[in-house]
Symmetry: C2
Subunit: 342 residues, 2 copies
């Protein structure tokens, strides 16, 4: 067991006493950060992901630059489907990632195979090992993957959007969808286990496209598979589930018992906490960080005041916007770290 | 008062007896329809909107082609902001409409002026008059506008997306936002009154970007202004509010008392109806219409069975997808028209 100088996030996940609210930021190693942009000037996005030395460097950047309470390994949720047979293209800032060979039916689904994580995603494990060594226990290290539904949505659609083809597959060809989701779930489990062995102290499942499904479909095609991942992993490593746009399904998410539930900014954190019962993560609107420091502090205080005492990890409600001034992020982190419940 | 051969939608809005559930489809005059594409081959989108004869022609197309229970005037929610000083560009199918002169602050907000509807949006009134004459009372005619918040989101951002700049203005410069929203509200009211005088039997307010705001911000920056529109208009013409992504704010929407609330597919219609109390509109996932006819019928039945008896207008949960086969739309309409509560 790794010894951590700052284990606040793990304490909050376990329900152990923590003397303040910890904070990390989704997409904290990213384009708003000048140190990251300096690296990006030399290497493209996937090269950074796939070169462990460089991935480790950018993973640690926000810990140094903005003083967050965790590092999250620099990667992308789509490298797992890539290792399962999908042709991934990422042109950052140009409409997001794409798959050149979208899966639309039973036939094209047959191109999907198991990832063989150690062989094909070994670069993620190596990035985690190097990061762990360099961090020397300063803060916990977070591993992650996409939820099976969120990855399927990209695999079927081929790109971002409202995922109409993916939704259509759930209605029209549920058996192909379920077969793909089973494969994704099995591979998520291997992938997250590998990340934990390589140094991840906790993992987060990003269900970024939770909000495009009706509550019934969401339970059948997303939560059911996330539940299998949690059941298999939770005795080994804490699992946070971040489900964007799932404010109407918080009761169902709570029922599958993740270590914490991350929520977006469209639900009040006190309401979410009441439904969830356990630890919550979130949920400042990333757009607040484009405002002035008094607005940032006021909006941050509103969340801190109503969040559950000792069971709250501060975060944004979605990834940080690339136009965010770094100084505003420092204002946020300082404010959260200084703040105490009365 | 116009005499209508089919006034089912108006009956449902009033709570009068109706012998079956009526149906219309958001974006029913659109790219899925071969008749529309034939017109589009000759004229671009804004030319169709601004040429009353042609706008009337495409407005009536779905009434003839798929037999819906209402016509909705062919137009776009952004022609009102255009008439208020915004430079609108629509390249259909190429990433959606854009404003070339986005409003970002107090200074650029000063370019926004009152629309003078009769002069600058007279083409919409004329399209409604021609449509009314040609329809000869077959079905009701729907007028519409965007909600003040949804129009502001486009005006600030300049284009579609998650509207981070617009959200940021609400936090950072609420007084400019409120001034713009007041202007938009005042102009919405004139614009909808003009549409009613020109033949609209009911109107719909599209709050397409409701789902990007927290519940508090949604009440302060969106519902508050929609309420002013409803208060001013509801004695003259029934107002439907369609709020996409607002499943967590249905109670607040019900409180401003629209004639009906349109909901997207991410909330079950029985749950929505219970919260709303009055008439509801929706909410088939548009992706269902990409599936086979047995799936379409099964998913449609699920909604019809749980929707409130006599207080339901069938619709999709968002605009119809352009890849939808017309035959599937006919299957849907036939099924809804044949269906009866036991």
């Amino acid at each position: 067991m790794k010894k951590l100088a700052n284990d606040l996030i793990l304490r909050v996940l376990r329900g152990d006493p923590a003397d303040r609210t910890p904070i990390w930021i989704m997409r904290q190693a990213g384009r708003y950060l000048p140190e990251y942009m300096a690296v990006r000037a030399k290497y493209d996005f996937l090269t950074i992901c796939k070169t462990p030395e460089i991935a480790a460097e950018v993973t640690i950047q926000p810990v140094d630059a903005v003083d967050v309470d965790a590092a999250i390994v620099f990667s992308d949720i789509l490298v797992l489907p890539e290792a399962m047979g999908m042709d991934l293209v990422v042109e950052e800032g140009k409409g997001g990632p794409r798959f050149l060979n979208p899966v639309r039916d039973r036939i094209s689904a047959s191109q999907v195979h198991d990832a063989d994580c150690d062989k094909n995603l070994g670069y993620v494990a190596e990035a985690l090992r190097i990061t762990t060594e360099r961090l020397g226990g300063r803060v916990p290290l977070i591993g992650f993957c996409g939820s099976p539904w969120t990855m399927l949505a990209y695999m079927v659609e081929g790109k971002g959007g409202e995922f109409a083809h993916a939704r259509s597959m759930l209605y029209n060809d549920p058996s192909t969808a379920h077969r793909l989701l089973e494969a994704l779930t099995r591979n998520c489990i291997s992938y997250l286990k590998m990340q934990h062995r390589a140094g991840a102290d906790l993992v987060q499942i990003f269900d970024s496209w939770a909000g495009y499904l009706s509550p019934d479909l969401y339970r059948e095609f997303s939560l059911r598979y996330i539940e299998q991942i949690i059941r298999t992993l939770s005795s080994e490593v804490p699992v946070i589930v971040f489900a964007k746009g799932a404010g109407l399904s918080l009761d169902s998410i709570a029922a599958i018992a993740p270590a914490a539930v991350g929520v977006d900014w469209t639900v009040s954190i006190d309401r979410a906490a009441k439904i969830i019962g356990g630890a919550v993560q979130g949920n400042l609107d990333p757009a607040v960080l484009l405002a002035g420091s008094s607005v940032i502090e006021a909006e941050t205080r509103k969340i801190l005041e109503i969040a559950p005492r000792g069971r709250h990890i501060f975060n944004l409600g979605h990834g940080i916007l690339q136009s965010t001034p770094v100084e505003n992020v420092r204002t946020l982190v300082r404010f959260v770290k200084k703040w105490r419940h009365d």
